[in-house]
Amino acid sequence: MFIWQVIFALGALLNTFWLMDLGRFVFGIGGESLAVAQNTYAVSWFKGKELNLVFGLQLSMARIGSTVNMNIMGWIYSRVQDLLGYTGPSTLGLTLMIGGITCLFSLTCALILAYLDKRAEKLLCKEQGKTGEVIKLTDVKDFSFSLWLIFVICVCYYAAVFPFIGLGKVFFIEKFRFSSQEASAINSIVYIISAPMSPVFGLLVDKLGKNIIWVLCAVITTLASHIMLAFTFWNPWIAMCLLGVAYSLLACALWPMVAFVVPEHQLGTAYGFMQSIQNLGLAIIAIAAGMILDTRGYLFLEVFFSACVCLSLIAVVMLYFVNHLTGGDLNWSAKKREKLQKVAATE
């Protein structure tokens, strides 16, 4: 990761666009596999304990990171500009290099983590290779129907949140007469809310269980906020705050569900697959959203996003019934889970 951030920065420094592209490309590969590894690690360490909380914390950290980054990079850039006395590709390059230092820090953390993991394995006499699964693409065909439903929820839901935030600024300026700064502020409120709320929701879901109900609530709230934005002139802060709350709730409740429907040895594949189709979905929907906006405008775009959320709502409802009929454990309360774990332990 560090290496590729350096490549990216070098590209900017030398003002060569293709080198930046290469850097971004490999950075993307590294970033995504990092996310997958992170999720798998989290599950292997915390399954049956505070898994939801851990996911919440992870998300919260990531959001704090992006928020800090959004606010601080501009500041660093202007500082470097003052330092060098002129603006140009080298200013940007240097700024990105400074950004790269955080990657170096994360590399150190990863090394420590690897050491700890090894030690834990030794201490707990875990079977070798339990965390380092081989990711097999052929696992995909063994995925259960519930898992596919979770994928659908994930893709449709994220597609209605991130592309919207990407295109949202002009919407707030034109429809709600916001100034440019206000529009940026309201656009980042989703991230700002999700940073502190994610661990709280994570803990809540851990204590209460019933993941599907939480996901259902999150999806319905999101739908309501999109409809509010599309069809009313109500203060958009209400809708955006709702969206932020719903988003953090969904992330806390949805991702850990995968761990319940997938056998442990396929976990890495499942998370990897989820991440990759989520990104694929995001990419396609972002392009489609841009096209819709150009030809049909924001009302249609909002209706489109609402339809996406509805699709994921359908998937949640189906998941609920499928789970109910097959007697799955997705919607058990925390107490029931604990009891069953005890039973399993005594046997």
């Binding site: 002009v170 034109e174 002139f233 150009d294 405008g297 009302l299 359908i314 409802v317 019934f321």
Partner: protein, 366 residues
Amino acid sequence: MQYNPGWNNSSVNLLHVRAVGPSDTLHYIWSSIGAPTVLLVATESRSSTLGINWTQLLSPTPAGAIWIDPPSSVVYSTAVVFTKVFEYSEAKTLEELFYPMYDLSNFSWDSINHTLNHTALTAEFTGIPATDPSGSFSNGSLAFRVTAYEASGRDGPLPSLLHTANSSKVEFVLAGVALRGNSSKFVLEVATVEEIGVVQKLRSARSIDDEYTPTIFEMLSLVAESQSDSSTLSFLQWKATAYGSQTPRREDSIQCRSHGLQAANWTLPVSSIVHAYFGEGVGSTYTISAINISFGGEDGKVYQEKHYLSWSALLGFGQPPKDTFSPLVISITAVALGTPMVMLLVGSSVVLFAQRKRYSEYEPIN
């Protein structure tokens, strides 16, 4: 559509568009004599005609040179005059610096004869200042593109205004005109002429629907209301945007704002066809009000880059047309919201059914 009816000379432009309805006739008279002007006359008769006394019209005292036959059939008449184009730049101290204005009555206008399109019902009045000391118009021109409609519908290119057969579109185009300041903006002054007893009102309607003009939520209309029964007699309607390209796209949008409609106490350019039709009785038989429409937002650089600006407005009689939700939006919303509801119902009944079955299996044990 008739060009200079009864006059075999193309040194001046006068375009007469006549729309005959089941029991009435609407006359649109576009002209660049004096300042660019459009005269709108609604008549009750199917056979009302336009009369022009050309020698009087081109003389310094044109009053009475344009009339409608028979005069008793006239129900309502109004005129819209595009008088001036200002250019100003906003300094950082919020002071506005105005450059010498372009007076559209001092422009020299090309003959519209070769721009007439009798199938598409369009014509274009193109002009440059008669004297251009700053040289801003050396590579550019100012134009008013006029479109008449045979049926109601919606324009293809943005801003895709909805129109009826009773309305016409005017498009104000600035192409290649050099800016005199670094970030200066243009302002178009529009004056309307109304008979006594009719007042002009500026209405701004903000809608949630931007389906036809992406990202533009505001529709402005200047409506003429009768003081006696407050019915709407005529309108000039536009979306709060101009575009910086001949093939307008969303990102070429130039913010468009209107500033204070006010009664104008000055007189119109002397030789305008307004005088020819309404006479000299400003204040006694008709009133003039004016509005400024500025193009360019806080940090709009579109004109600086493209050197093109086009602003469209629709004018016509009666109530201005209103956008409605398209059936596509309604059907998507209905399907998207309806399906989960249906699924919830079907799903819960299936689950209930399954549970009852399960219980019935247990019954013998109990």
